[in-house]
């Protein structure tokens, strides 16, 4: 089972393909972890995207492939390995938020 820290939303996959999507959120960044139906149980895995939320009040987000965490969609076959990645990502997002606040704001 995935960790519940920073879990923002659990929902069925909005694409309608079946399966469940977990959305994690730390400030403006987060992760989408999607587990979809597979023909064999052993093939079931997590498809993980780093995401950037576009609205502070809703679950609207864009996929973000420009962070140091990853520039592509990630796959995890075990909850344990994804949980380890989540913990690192949460820490990274906190630091990223601090760094972004230090940048001069666009006028």
């Amino acid at each position: 089972m995935l960790i519940q820290d920073n879990l923002f939303l659990t929902r069925t996959d909005p694409s309608g393909q079946g399966g469940v999507q977990f959305l994690y959120r730390v400030k403006d960044y987060g992760l989408s972890a999607l587990s979809s139906p597979q023909e064999e149980i052993s093939m079931i895995h997590w498809e993980v995207e780093i995401i950037k939320f576009t609205n502070p009040d809703t679950a609207d987000f864009e996929i973000c492939h420009t962070t140091e965490l990853s520039d592509k969609t990630l796959k995890f076959y075990k909850d344990k390995s994804l949980n380890e990645f989540l913990q690192k990502a949460f820490q990274y997002f906190e630091e990223l938020d601090s760094l972004e606040k230090m940048l001069p704001k666009e006028s």
Partner: protein, 410 residues
Amino acid sequence: MANVKGAAVNRTAEDEGKAADWIPGTERQTVVDPMEMFHKLPREMQFITGSEAARESMRRANIDIAIAYPITPQSESMQQAGYLYDEGYIKEYYRAEEEIGTMSAISGASRAGVRSLTATSGPGLMRGMEAISSWPGARTPIIMLNMCRVINTPLAIQPDNIEMSFMLNTGILLLHAENQQDFYDYPLAAIMASEQVDVTLPAVVSVDGFFCTHARGPVLVTPEEYKLPPRDGWRSAVPAMDNENPPARLSRDAPIQKSNFISYHMHSSWQQEVFAAVQRSAKYFRDYLGGLIEVVNPGAEEVIIASGCAVSQAREAVRQEGEKGRTVGLVKIKSIRPFPTEDIFNAIKHAKRILVPEFNQAGWLHKELCAVLYGRTKGVIKGGPRVFGGMTMPTEMVLEWLADIRKEVK
């Protein structure tokens, strides 16, 4: 009558090739009151597939015999049942020749007074339908898990619940699971309701195949050391056959099988009693499932009514509408038979616009709702969106239909 009140486990460690101290799983479990199991026992979260959720449900269901024939997407669940047989949680288990054989054999097992479980999908259900439609009249409280899939040509193995429409008028109790959690909870509730003396009917728990059976989801399960009470074959509308004192009588009243005036009346009253028993089961499902329907945002003017996986897609649409400041209601129908007419009517009293999304071409739920709500609601009931043949129902599709009905009905 050793074989009536729960079958004896006659499997020895030696027979099974197990260690000498092997004890069948079911003998290590403690019987618990159903209401205790459904509402009071602590629960642990597991992240498992629908097939695995069915396995955990079967583990706690005190099942005497399971018979099935493989068909996608059901095969995975009955493979799991095989593991339970190996562990000693299911007392007897075998693969039948095909579905007519399966559904006939399970009927015989149930008539003998033991708790009997089978499972099938789409074309398998169609093949076994002759035997299945005889179950209610025979008053056999069989539990069948039904993992819905496409039944028509061209061949497909993807989700489509048209097959449920074939069971609507058989006298079978019919539940529709939304997700893995329901596929754990509903079979347990269905077993207990179906075996009540004033019900004594078969029960089917349908789920949309693949989306639930082959995907993982969070499921809260009760401790595995507890199980349901065993079936008492004598506590039935039609008592179990006494197989130890042959000849056993298959039909309750021989004249019913003749072709004459009296037999027609007898048959007619028999069927009336079956459908009355379906209605009587409602009170048990209310207790076990906490209601026949679930209502989100009661009193809304726009309401989505759905069952099965369509509920999940509607749930997300309702959430997204909420983000935009619009309140859309949702009525999840848990029980298709008995059909919760009054519950639905009370839930949609203020509705002006009602949408019924479905995973089938025929729109059987829409027709059902129109039939029972005709003349009773001022709301416009629109059937759709409908996807079938394995198509998906993205949330955007539900949102588009909501936008359309909003324009059409002011």
